[in-house]
Structure formats: C-alpha cells, structure tokens
Amino acid sequence: MIELSNVSKTYGSGDSAVHALKDVDLRVPKGTIHGVIGLSGAGKSTLIRCVNLLERPTQGSVMVDGQEMTRLNGSALNQARHRIGMIFQHFNLLTTRNVFDNVALPLELMGEKRSVIKDRVLPLLKMVGLADKAQQYPAQLSGGQKQRVAIARALASKPGVLLCDEATSALDPQTTGAILELLRDINQQLGITILLITHEMEVVKSICHRVSLISNGELVEDAEVGEFFTAPTTQLGREFLNDFLQLTPPKELLERLEGAPGPSTHPVVRLTFSGDAVSTPLISRLARDCNVDVSILQAKVESIQDRTLGLMIAELLGSETQTREAMDYLQSHQLHVEVLGHVQRTS
C-alpha cells in the first residue's frame, strides 16, 4: 500500500520557488494498479519520485507498506528501497553488464550470495520471457526486451510495490501492449501494488484500476477507471478523454457552429453513454417519442475494462421545444449531454 498525505514539493525559495507538488493526497490500496496521468510538467515525475524519496517531499508524509518513508535516512532508507521496485522510461540498464548481471544487481547490492542470486534471477528471466537472453548485453536487445529486463530487475528483491515512470512511453504501440500485459500478470500473480505515471490514456485504460489526474502539481481528479472514462469531472479530464477517443466534431461542422441558438438552428450535441444506455435503442425511441430526427455525425463504442462506453456527436432536428424535450429525455436515461453549439438549417 502507498499512502501520500499532504505531500508538497517546492524547488528553490522566495520569488523563484517552483511548486512541483501541492498538498497531494493519494492512497493506493495493496494489490491495485493506480495510474497518475497528466501533461508533461504537471508534476508526475516528482510525484512518483517522492514515493521512494528519490525526491524528498518538502512537506507531508509518505507511507509504503506501513513504513513511513519520510522519516527514514541513510541505510534505513536504502533498506526500505529494497522493498520498492522501479522501472523507467529509458530502462536504465547497465550497458557493461549482461542481462543476468543486470537483474542480479539489486541482489548484489543487498549482499546476497551468488547461489541465492542464481536461484532468483533465472525464474525472473523466465517470467519476463527472456530466459534465452541471459548472456546478452542490453545493446543487443530491442526496447521491449530492455524493459522486460528492467522489470525482472525491479522484481528481484521481491518488492511489495512497483513504481513505473513512463515505462511504455519510449515503446511502439504493439510493444506497449505486451509490456502492459506483463505488468498486469505480475500484479495478478504476485499481488504487487503498482503506481504508474503516464501521459497515455491507453495505459490507464488497459491496466489501471484507479486513476488520478494531475495538473500543475495538484491532483484534480481521482476516480475508478470506468468512471473516469465515462464521466470525467474536470475540463482537463474531458480533454484527455476526447483526445484519446479522437471524437471532436469535423472541421467543416466546427466552422458552421454558432454559440447561441437562433430562430432557425439545430443543436449539435455530444452524447456520452455507458452502462445500460449503451444497449438501449435510445436514438430510435427519440425519433418515435419526441418526434426528433437525429443526424449522427460521429459515433464510437469503446470498451473500458468491464464497461462499455458510447460516444456520439449528433445534430438534433426538430423544433426548439422538441429538441429540448429530447435532451431532457436523454439525460433522464443517464446520458451525458453536452451542447457543442448550433448550426443553421440547411434545408
């Protein structure tokens, strides 16, 4: 379990002070995967480095598996770090050590005997699928293989917590998928708690249980992944979601879009629906019950873990009263309705 309470980190002082983290509270229960997503410079790196005290928080406390990290120093801190694995965007493997010796490094640092090391390293290499590469050097491996070595290395000391610092950001989409799958397997098999930071919604979508959104050093959202993908509560959350779903109105429509309704305009709406609403034929009911025609401009259905998420951009064709009723109807069926603007009737 990871617990951050009122964690702040400030670089410098006085007028030139930079507040990288402001009063961050975060709780990652044992055995879960928690993602922190944010734009670059939002404070993600600082946040994850505060967990193992690579960055020491200016204020607040950090607890990892019942131990208060922020109270530790020197060798006690090093001992505690043996219980926390970490992987990085650029893998950080030693170029002068082969795969076996890279994975052995944390055990060497702990003073383990050579025989113990051997018994520990080989099963780890097997687990990450690199048993045949033990004698190779990092330069001979692909990016995905390097990250697998780094994962094996991070797990060598049997940590209870794994920190992933943009672990897939330097990998292509296919390799990213394979690494994420490995991380999920590790989480399930070993019950290890994973905290990861990323700027990719794909990562959050495929393996996280919960997600926090970080902006300017503050956690602005904290939600179940299904919840975050269906109903983000902040503007930034919606932007991340729309970027991820690539559901923005066509350019041609945007140009015609007017802010205020006129005497002869239709509303253009973005509908987000999840749960039962996905499988209900709402659009045809709209036409029947509210007497409103729906012109679908864009639509998409995504499955986010065990939930299904539908998105649609549509023009509602009808009188002002009819379209207002239609929107009320949709809202009453748990759809999120966002009016993007109004367009002139073409006919």
């Binding site: 650029h90 030693l94 640092l109």
Partner: protein
C-alpha cells in the same frame, strides 16, 4: 653504431619507460579517487559537498595551469626531500607524477560525467549506497572513457618525460638533447624520436584495444 651507443639508447628507453610507468601508476592511484570525488561531490550528486568540490576544483586547476617546465624546477626542494636528489629518473618521476595527478583527475571526472544520470537514479532506487554506486555503476559504466583518459595520460607522460631530460632527468629526451643536439649527432636525435613515436603509438594502440574490448554499447 658502437655497442656502447646501442647500450646508451637501450638504457635511455628503459629509463623513459620507468619514468612513465612510475608516474603513470601513482598518478592513476591518486587521480582516480580524486576524479571520482570531483564528480560525486558536485551539487546534487551522490556525495554532494559543494564547498569541498570547489576547493578540489581550484587545487586541480592550479595544478593543471602551472607549465610543466616551471613545476619541475619549482618543486626541486620537495623532490630532494622525497628521493634525496634532484637529478636522475627517480627525481624526474616526482614532478611527472605531480603534473599528471590533476590531469588524470579531470579526465576521470569527464569520463564519469558521460555516464547517464538515469543509471545513478535507478541504482539509488534499488537502495544502493554511494560507495556501491561508485563501484558497481559509475566506474564500470565509465571504464571505456577511463581507459581513454589513462591512454592520453601515458602518451602525455612520454612527451613530458622527454622534457624532464632538459634538467638532467635521464631517459630518451636527455639522450636526444645531450648527444643529438649538443654534440650535433642527427642520427641519435632521429633514433630517439623514432623510439618515442613507436612508444606513443604502442600505448595508443593498447588503449584503443582495451576500450574496444570493454565497449558493450
């Protein structure tokens, strides 16, 4: 060429190698830890000691900026105290070593600076102590650069040892000056130069070979 002259050249070659070896070994033994300190005591480094770092930096720069020929003469009292004389190859090895220490230190520092900071960070995340980071990460990862630096040092020492000949230091430089220049014997001069060139070439090739062998990138 008389056998006496051949012996003279042979002896001078051995003398040069002796001076280079002594000063090379001692300056590495002192310069390597000094270079590591120069790097690791930098601000935000694993042994951050900004004041110590400044002091070491200044001492190193002073050592590096004194011209060798002046250093050689200036430390004669120290040399005499250390080896009992101010002439001969042992005496010449003292200023050579003193000049090489800051030189080695800066080259080592430069080599360590080439190690990706990410490697240090990941070692820290594994709970490595500063000493473990130095022994298991920094030095092994920088070994190519370190060997390159030591090769440059040896080559520089060969040419400096020839300069030591000017103040009665012995070795090939001494031979070249006394026989080649003062007694107008261009053959001796040429031979000493050729031997020096071969020596430098040898050190360089050996260094390059070791770097290639250690390189896994």
């Amino acid at each position: 060429m008389s056998s006496a002259l051949v012996n003279l050249i042979l002896q001078a070659t051995l003398d040069t190698l002796y001076m280079v070896a002594i000063s090379g070994v001692i300056s590495t033994l002192v310069g390597l830890p000094l270079g590591i300190l120069l790097y690791t005591t930098r601000p935000r480094q694993i042994l951050a000691q900004p004041v110590l770092n400044q002091v070491l930096g200044i001492i190193t720069n002073v050592g590096r900026s004194i011209p060798f020929i002046i250093l050689m003469v200036a430390i004669i009292p120290f040399t005499r105290m250390l080896v009992g004389t101010s002439i001969g190859i042992n005496a010449a090895s003292v200023p050579l070593t003193i000049a090489a220490i800051p030189f080695v230190a800066r080259l080592i520092e430069g080599a360590l600076n080439e190690v990706s900071p990410g490697l240090i960070e990941s070692a820290q995340s594994m709970g490595a102590t500063p000493w473990q980071i130095i022994c298991k990460v920094l030095v092994p990862e920088a070994r190519g650069g370190i060997i390159t630096g030591l090769t440059i040092t040896l080559v520089t020492l060969v040419s400096y040892s020839a300069m030591a000949g000017a103040v009665g230091g012995g070795g090939l430089g001494d031979l070249g000056i006394r026989y080649g220049y003062n007694r107008f014997n261009p053959t001796i001069m040429l031979i000493t130069v050729v031997i020096l060139v071969v020596m430098v070439q040898g050190f360089q090739s050996l260094g390059d070979y070791l770097v290639r062998k250690s390189d896994r990138k």
